[in-house]
Assembly symmetry: C2
Homo-oligomer: 201 residues x 2
DNA sequence: TCGCTTGCCTAATACTTATAGGTTGTGTCC
DNA sequence: GGACACAACCTATAAGTATTAGGCAAGCGA
């Protein structure tokens, strides 16, 4: 009987394509077996279980996104770097919605520590270091920027912007400008009324 | 045989509690039947199918969040209103992670149009109207603020802030200040930067 | 060529979703 | 107060998915 040439690598890659086609939450080992024209049990020689497949897809997506972001970042700083990183994420989410959803799935701590998630965190912080914020403001900024980027990518890929006839790309550029502006001129650490230091009305 | 007193209402409410306990993606009709000590088939008199249950939970969560937000908003404007709305979402996400995840699930267009999602959009826009932005900037702002709030809530409830020893509440206040500041003084057409070749969108 | 490893198989179990059709509790109408 | 109709819950059944155990054979190394 001809062999299908399965391997963990190939299965996870095919699983990622499946995720982009039907959604990450609908990835099943059964469907994967069907695509390779193979019985389900055969996959269990290469995958421990169903979760092994899905976390494999998550790790793959994190790697791919980190690679893209790193490529986009070379030689850039300031707003250009921020825009390059953010747009790498946004583009990835639009091209690979299933993989993007996979990348947002929660990992257990040890797996997360060994994943490309670490590179993402480092890149974000490196960019923000260019804005000269002290701690804890830099951490605040990392969180805000991460929230804005991933929130935007998620809302957009979930179709949340389709009700309003304003170009999503224009809102994206505006958002990047806004983030850049606020990072250059961050709010005071006092939770009181903002006095916008250094900028007259 | 004693009757369990099932109803669509009760089932969806119990489903929402189940979601908060085990995660929205692990809500099943089987588990729900188990909790009511009833056979699975019995639920199908009250629910059309499994999707009927999950979208019911989504709609419930959207309603609850909109009610909370509306309560928090009375009599407020400006940064106070922004903070009230955003914090209503954040608190809801922290208290009810499963329901919050449900609220972010995608609905088909007609269902979405009849959902409390419409109220959310109206409230956000009403708050931003106070910042006196023209179109399309107001829409850009709606998208940015929505992305930042929901991105933050999601990252936080996914444990994304647990690696860094900076209080998540402090970052939250800083982020609200930053959003308020940038809305008061929005980016025009790239202040102080040459216009870059735009990406075709 | 022998034999061993590995790749894929059949078979079996358990759980979830879903439908069809039966039985019984209970409120309502006379 | 009894009959009845409907609603609530049941049993039985079927299909899809996840997982494990054990078997056979392809094809590489000796």
């Amino acid at each position: 009987m001809a062999r299908a040439g399965l391997s963990r690598e190939r299965l996870i890659r095919a699983g990622a394509e499946l995720a982009d086609e039907v959604g990450f939450d609908r990835v099943t080992v059964s469907e994967l077996a069907r695509r390779f024209d193979v019985k389900v049990a055969s996959l269990y020689s290469h995958l421990r279980n169903s979760a092994d497949l899905t976390t494999g897809i998550t790790l793959l997506a994190l790697e791919e996104m980190a690679d893209r972001a790193a490529d986009a970042l070379v030689g850039l700083a300031g707003r250009d770097a921020l825009a390059a990183l953010a747009t790498a994420y946004r583009d990835y989410a639009r091209e690979h919605p299933g993989r993007y959803a996979a990348a947002r799935a929660r990992l257990d701590p040890e797996t997360a520590a060994g994943s490309a998630g670490v590179r993402h965190a480092r890149m974000t912080r490196a960019i923000l270091r260019g804005y000269d914020l002290a701690e804890p403001e830099e951490t605040h900024a990392v969180r805000m920027v991460g929230a804005a980027i991933h929130g935007y990518a998620e809302l957009e890929s979930a179709g949340g912007f389709e009700h309003t006839p304003v170009d999503a790309g224009a809102s994206w550029e505006w958002t990047l400008d806004a983030l850049d502006a606020v990072l250059r001129n961050p709010p005071t650490s006092r939770p009181g009324r903002p006095s916008r230091p250094g900028r007259p009305d």
